[in-house]
């Protein structure tokens, strides 16, 4: 009896939470389905899951998403690369002097706490509705996590390590390559991961609010045309892309940290 309940308990421990998770998702899909087919929820408010699936397949098969995806990814790549390069360079230079850290770190942290999305109307005014304003907003928003984590990473390297390397006659380059970079890398990588997530968010966000092309714009366009099933399909598509990109970046981050 007790052995049996013990085994049962183990089984529940192992599979129980998986089971509940699957049941949770299934229940939501079922409720969604019933709401649209049985309970007469308006199709404009909530398209049925089946029609969303059909539209999703259609979007993928026709390859209609390619143009918008290309623009969004291009904006994201440019913004992230510029923010990464400028953030790490500026952060490294500042981190070399405790005085500069004291001057600039609170300044950057202060600006970072402002919701920078507020500047979007200004950027639209400066750069127009095209990709330039999205890239500029993406750079501004992801620069701060990158620069702050670079300062934190390179500014907090253990003094003992630096002194030891120097006393063993390491050159400046050797010191940088073999002591500073490995010590700072985990913190810097976390900052880059955050910067990437924020860049993705700000680019899709600014496409949603004011733009002429891109995935965010496509969703708004479909919403304005009341083409709900297709809009849901695009939302699913964008979420899949975003989750895929964020997972890939997290994996790279974890790998970079392991390799030290």
């Amino acid at each position: 009896m007790t052995a049996q309940s013990g085994a049962r308990r183990k089984w529940l421990d192992r599979y129980g939470s998986r089971l509940v998770q699957v049941a949770f998702v299934a229940a939501i899909l079922l409720l969604w389905h019933l709401a649209t087919t049985r309970w007469g929820v308006n199709k404009i408010l909530l398209p049925s899951p089946l029609s969303v699936w059909q539209q999703f397949v259609d979007v993928i098969r026709k390859g209609e998403f390619l143009a918008d995806l290309q623009i969004t990814l291009m904006e994201l790549a440019v913004a992230f690369v510029v923010a990464t390069v400028s953030g790490t360079v500026v952060g490294y230079v500042i981190s070399r002097s405790p005085y500069l850290i004291k001057v600039f770190e609170p300044l950057f942290a202060g600006i970072y706490s402002i919701p920078i999305i507020l500047f979007l109307p200004l950027y639209v005014l400066f750069f127009g509705l095209g990709p330039a304003s999205k890239i500029a907003l993406g750079i501004t928003m992801s620069f701060f996590p990158v620069v702050l984590s670079t300062i934190a990473g390179f500014g907090n390297v253990d003094r003992v390590l630096v002194t030891a390397a120097k006393s063993m006659g390491a050159s400046d380059w050797q010191l940088f390559r073999h002591v500073l970079v490995p010590a700072a890398l985990p913190v810097v990588l976390s900052g880059l991961r955050m910067g990437f997530t924020i860049a993705l968010l700000s680019i899709i966000g600014s496409e949603t609010i004011a733009s002429l092309a891109g995935l965010g714009h496509r969703i708004v366009n479909l919403a304005e045309n009341m083409d709900m099933a297709r809009m849901f399909a695009y939302i699913v598509f964008v979420i899949i892309i975003a989750v895929f990109l964020n997972t890939a970046v997290s994996a790279l981050d974890a790998r970079g940290k392991r390799q030290r």
Binding site: V103, F104, P106, I117, L118, P121, L122, I204
Partner: protein, 252 residues
């Protein structure tokens, strides 16, 4: 002078800000088309006229109200869900992955759905702010509850404490520091959500004025309005941060 600056980095920081403002002033006065940017001095002088624009003060008040309500709701929902998920091992194992999955979704993609369901009024903005703000709070509450030493719970129970007493006297005080750091992140989320929705809806509220000033090429008023909103955001952030440092103190 140099020694004074070296000893007071805060003064040097003010100097840097001042230099940036002067550079902006010079660039805007003599080098850049006044259709696109105006110097900070003119923006400052024009703050009065921003407030004098019909309906701008009402829109600002409404935004503040939306931020406050969204934050309050995000804290309440975040604490309730966080306790529900965090207090049992099973709940944590089962629902934490779902919470993390939902948190990882870029919510901006579903903003049009919020507008569709809640209309273009304050309800949609509050709802969007709540969904942005509650996830960091859930995570913080779960982390806070999980970090309670099991011995505290066991000894409280063995001394005959009721569930409510345990919640009140063991869980609550142990949760407070991480709850407040979650609230700080939650405030950042609420600001993002509410302002995104405000900017998206261009037929009323703040979004109407920002797009109107943009289309009229009126950078002075646009900068003024953005500045006022930024000041509002800084004040709210500072309020929560003060709360965090105040309430996190007891443990040290």
């Amino acid at each position: 002078m140099k020694r004074y600056l070296l000893r007071h980095p805060g003064v040097a920081r003010l100097g840097v800000i001042l230099l940036m403002l002067i550079g902006w002033e010079i660039a805007a006065r003599w080098f850049i088309d006044p259709m696109f940017i105006s110097p900070p001095s003119r923006v400052l002088m024009a703050l009065g006229s921003v407030f004098a624009t019909p309906n701008v003060p009402a829109a600002l008040r409404l935004t503040f109200f939306e931020l406050a309500v969204a934050f309050a709701l995000a804290v309440i929902i975040g604490v309730v869900l966080g306790l529900a998920v965090g207090l049992s091992k099973f709940g944590n194992k089962t629902f934490m992955p779902i919470v993390l999955l939902l948190y990882g979704i870029p919510q901006i993609t579903i903003l049009p759905i919020f507008i569709l369901y809640f209309g273009i009024g304050p309800a949609a903005k509050i709802a969007f702010g709540v969904t942005h703000g509650m996830f960091p709070i859930i995570m913080a509450v779960v982390a806070g509850v999980q970090n309670i030493k099991p011995i505290l719970l066991t000894s409280a129970r063995s001394m005959g404490a009721s569930n409510w007493q345990i919640l009140r006297h063991v869980v609550y005080p142990n949760m407070i520091p991480s709850l407040f750091s979650g609230m700080r992140l939650g405030m950042t989320g609420v600001l993002l959500g509410v302002l995104l929705a405000e900017l998206y809806v261009s037929t009323g509220g703040i979004g109407y004025f920002t797009s109107m000033f943009t289309q009229n090429f009126d950078p002075t008023k646009l900068l003024g309005l953005v500045g006022i909103l930024a000041a509002m955001a800084i004040a709210l952030n500072e309020l929560v941060r003060r709360g965090e440092t105040h309430f996190a103190r007891w443990r040290d």
